[in-house]
């Protein structure tokens, strides 16, 4: 697809339409494009339409790679504070919005939902519709930009996006603390997230032995050392069981820590990636549930509000290949959580798919079902003939 009018024609002419961008989330895009539907590749619909650094806003076509945009912003000392993930793997702006993805920096100023201020989309009738606007504050009309965050191409096809951006802090520092156990870590987490220290990112993960907590601050270099010391004190005060504490101030090394997170480089080769929103209080139950399953690499982000879970595609049980995302689906249902598979094989392609499985038990969505009457009614208005995958 090279133009919006091509997309409009395709939507008007097809019975069923799926979208893909950079292909960095194959569990969403590949699966969609394998079903009996016309698949529209939006990776050619790219480029910046308008970037005014003094306005702290830009407008770009949906297929624009995130990496190209962040490089352009960096030239002016600006950035997308929600740290869009998977840029290194070719993620596009449109795909990032449709999948509703924010990275670790989301902790400080908000997620992708808080920075997307305007959109254009092609609806199920093939019309290009505008939502939101180009100014950072706008309360006029329904907030279509927010509706399309996480919409997975099922309400319309995003063609153009307007974001607000922020000035990038001039320097960062990260405190990394190691703990023997999760409960020690959660004690420190509570202390640090309730403190008055302005935290840019708060992540943690199990290591070979024990757990590590990473806390990032940013701002003027002149006072960063002093602030990092204050942060160390808060982290240390939260628990008596801390094994070690280190401070990363070398800018390249420090940035490397977080680049690994954004690009999901920590993910083991051959495992899928599942995104699971939760709250810190749910984590002990999640850990207990996971301990009974196969070993899963994982990382908790956004102060314990998000779990990135590496999950093997297939497991052999008693010599029979099992579609393991099915196990995870059941596990999340038991926990009352929702997840979405981004990388790996989505459940429909599983080795032993139950024919009688309900719709909501298929595809990249795992755990507690999502549908509700509000969403159904919205979808019926924007896509009356059901050309996009139904919600």
């Amino acid at each position: 697809m090279n133009s919006v009018s091509e997309i409009q024609e395709a939507v008007q002419g097809a019975k069923s339409v799926r979208v893909r961008g950079g292909g960095s989330k194959p569990a969403l895009s590949q699966r969609d494009c394998q079903v009996d539907a016309q698949c529209l590749d939006l990776s050619a619909l790219k480029g910046v339409i308008d970037y005014q650094p003094e306005e702290y806003t830009f407008t770009a076509r949906a297929g624009t790679p995130v990496a190209e945009m962040t490089a352009l912003l960096a030239e002016k000392g600006q950035y997308l504070p929600f740290d869009p993930p998977l840029a290194e793997r070719g993620a596009t702006l449109g795909g990032t919005v449709a999948a509703g993805l924010s990275g670790p920096g989301r902790y400080r100023y908000g997620g992708i939902r808080d920075f997307l201020i305007g959109i254009r989309f092609v609806d199920g009738k093939g019309q290009e519709v505008r939502g939101g606007g180009a100014v950072v504050k706008n309360a006029a009309g329904f907030d279509f930009p927010k509706l399309f965050v996480g919409s997975l191409g099922r309400l319309g096809i995003l063609t153009e996006l307007t974001f607000k951006v922020f000035p990038q802090p001039s320097a960062y520092a990260t405190v990394a603390a190691e703990f023997d156990g999760l409960s020690d870590l959660l004690g420190a987490l509570d202390a640090v997230t309730r403190s008055a220290i302005d935290l840019h990112a708060v992540d943690f993960a199990p290591e070979e032995q024990g757990w590590t907590l990473w806390v990032r601050i940013g701002g003027l270099l002149t006072v960063l050392q002093e602030r990092a010391q204050a942060l160390r004190t808060v982290v240390s005060a939260g628990t008596g069981q801390m094994r070690s504490l280190s401070l990363y101030q070398d800018q390249e090394e420090e940035e490397g820590l977080w680049q690994t997170v954004r690009s999901m480089r920590w993910l083991t080769e051959g495992t899928g990636l599942v995104r699971i929103p939760l709250t810190p209080q749910r984590i002990p139950a999640v850990e207990e549930a996971l301990s009974g399953s196969q070993t899963a690499t994982r990382r908790y982000s956004v102060g314990g509000n998000l779990l990135w879970l590496g999950w093997p595609d297939v497991t052999a049980q008693a010599g029979v290949e099992q579609d393991s995302s099915r196990d995870l689906h059941g596990l999340l249902q038991e926990l009352g959580l929702q997840g979405i598979q981004l990388i790996g094989r989505a459940r429909r392609e599983g080795a032993n798919r139950d024919e009688g499985d309900a719709r909501d038990h298929e595809g990249p969505l795992l755990g507690r079902p999502l549908q509700n009457a509000f969403l159904r009614r919205i979808a019926a208005a924007l896509d009356p003939e059901g050309k996009f995958e139904p919600w």
Binding site: E54, D114, V129, G133, A140, S151, V223, T279, L375
Partner: protein, 481 residues
């Protein structure tokens, strides 16, 4: 539309003191803070719990009677104006903070909870609720949600929608749905985000989960006076370009300064323009940023600079700013508050044009605005006793909105479309957009019962009459922003 069978049924649900039908009782609900509009409802119900709200909505749907949910009635766009022959659902008694979880930094509240009460309840835990509309001591969270309310401090942390994580909602036919949850992150379309700011058209929020933030360690506030609005505007550009991220950047012009002096005795310097910049955060960071800010401000050649040295001085600066609107009432018998947004770099152009319009209409306009995000609040002064004065003030207000659209901005930054700006929404959006909004609305509310006639053009036009400022505003209890 015969509303009597519905009222008859409601009388079985509500005691007489919670089902108001007498004209004297209904009068108090005829207007909100946009007093130019008034309309009498057929009845006002005062539910005490969510079940009563849901049942009332179901009944309205069944009897085909439109309804308006209302909190404290502080809407500046006529958002809570009653519908003729419709029902008003007054939510003020659903005012419980159901849960305040300091560890998760959330508060779960009913819609009638007053904005400021959330921060007061969170204070012992070192937390607060960030959105701070000027009416925060009286406005309710339900109304904030419906209109995506802002405030002086949205520059850094955003408006209401940036602070709502989840909610339980009664759709316009009474079906109850859960949107979002307690996590900062979610899966699927951002439905809480879509509901916030829908101006009551998608139904009534029954329970709202709010995000709380740690109270900033410290604030540093500076007030700088300039010999022209243009110079103050240039200072804003310099501050924004520096990469500093203040919590608030505000500008007031000479007329607004005069009003604030008369109204709140803020002790402001007399000058053509005042700039207020506030930094917030950790002590050491704010100190360092503040010296950078002061250097920047010195370079913009202010005629006078004052720094708030104490919490009292800070409070006084803000009191003057927040009271400026109501205080304008002392300069003229009546005024209209406009709320438009322009790209930040076009602020100078916008102000020059407003000046020109003011001169050509021969109508005084005071300017108070959230300069950091380009949100203008021109106050158009008039005397309602003069024949045609209101209409001419409205006409000028309309030209300001068209100017905002022309400059690539918005017709509302935080007050919403409501009744007031229905005619202007189609100037900002094309027919396709208006149709898409109408389609979604019809699909969510097949009978267009929920807050019918607001935001989207529909039904009969309401009467525009002049009634002067809101009594609470005259008393200085509520402020327009």
């Amino acid at each position: 539309m015969n509303v009597h069978p519905l009222i008859e049924t409601l009388s079985r649900l509500y005691d007489a003191d919670r089902l108001l039908t007498r004209p004297a009782q209904l009068m108090a609900y005829e207007s909100d803070a946009l007093t130019a509009f008034q309309q009498r409802a057929a009845a006002v119900v005062i539910p005490q719990n969510r079940e009563e709200v849901i049942e009332t909505i179901r009944l309205c749907h069944g009897y085909n009677v439109p309804f308006v949910a209302r909190g404290s009635g502080t809407s500046l766009s006529g958002g809570s104006l009653p519908i003729a022959d419709g029902i008003v659902i007054a939510l003020n008694r659903l005012d419980r903070i159901l849960r305040l979880d300091a560890a998760e930094r959330i508060a779960v509240v009913e819609p009638g909870v007053i904005n400021l009460k959330v921060s007061e309840a969170a204070k012992p835990y070192g937390l607060y609720y960030a959105p701070d509309p000027s009416s925060q001591s009286i406005c309710t969270i339900g109304g904030n949600v419906a209109f995506n309310s802002g405030g002086a401090h949205c520059l850094k942390y955003g408006m209401t929608s940036n602070h709502v994580l989840g909610m339980t909602v009664a759709l316009p036919d009474g079906e109850v749905v859960e949107l979002g949850g307690e996590s900062l992150e979610g899966i699927g379309p951002d439905l809480p985000g879509f509901f916030v700011g829908s101006e009551g058209l998608f139904g009534v929020a029954l329970e709202i989960t709010l995000r709380l933030l740690p109270i900033p360690q410290t604030y540093r506030t500076v007030l700088a006076a300039y010999d022209s609005l243009h110079a103050a505007g240039d200072a804003v550009t310099a501050v924004v370009a520096s990469g500093l991220l203040p919590g608030a950047i505000e500008i007031m012009d000479a007329l607004a300064i005069k009003a604030a002096e008369v109204g709140a005795k803020a002790g402001y310097p007399t000058a053509p323009a005042l700039l207020i910049v506030e930094l917030e955060g950790e002590e050491s960071a704010v100190e360092a940023e503040f010296s950078q800010l002061m250097q920047l401000i010195e370079e913009t050649a202010p005629v006078e600079v004052r720094m708030a040295q104490t919490a009292d001085e800070r409070a006084r600066i803000w009191k003057g700013r927040k009271a400026a609107f109501s205080a304008v009432g002392r300069l003229a018998p009546d005024y209209i508050v406009q709320d438009g947004v322009v790209p930040r770099s076009r602020l100078g152009d916008a102000l020059a044009e407003i000046d020109r319009l003011s001169a050509s209409y021969g109508i005084d306009v005071a300017n108070v605005f959230h300069a950091g995000d380009g949100n203008l609040h021109p106050l158009i002064l008039f005397d309602g006793r003069e024949e045609g004065a209101l209409e001419r003030a409205e006409e000028l207000a309309g030209e300001v909105l068209e100017l905002c659209v022309e400059l690539g901005g918005s017709i509302t930054g935080e007050h919403g479309v409501g009744m007031e700006k229905r005619a202007f929404l189609p100037k900002m959006y094309g027919p396709l957009e208006m149709q898409a909004m109408e389609d979604v609305r019809r699909s969510v509310d097949s009978k267009s019962l929920a807050n019918r006639g607001k935001m989207l053009p529909a039904g009969e036009a309401e009467s525009l009459t002049h009634v002067g400022p809101h009594p609470l505003e005259k008393a200085g209890v509520i402020f327009r922003e």
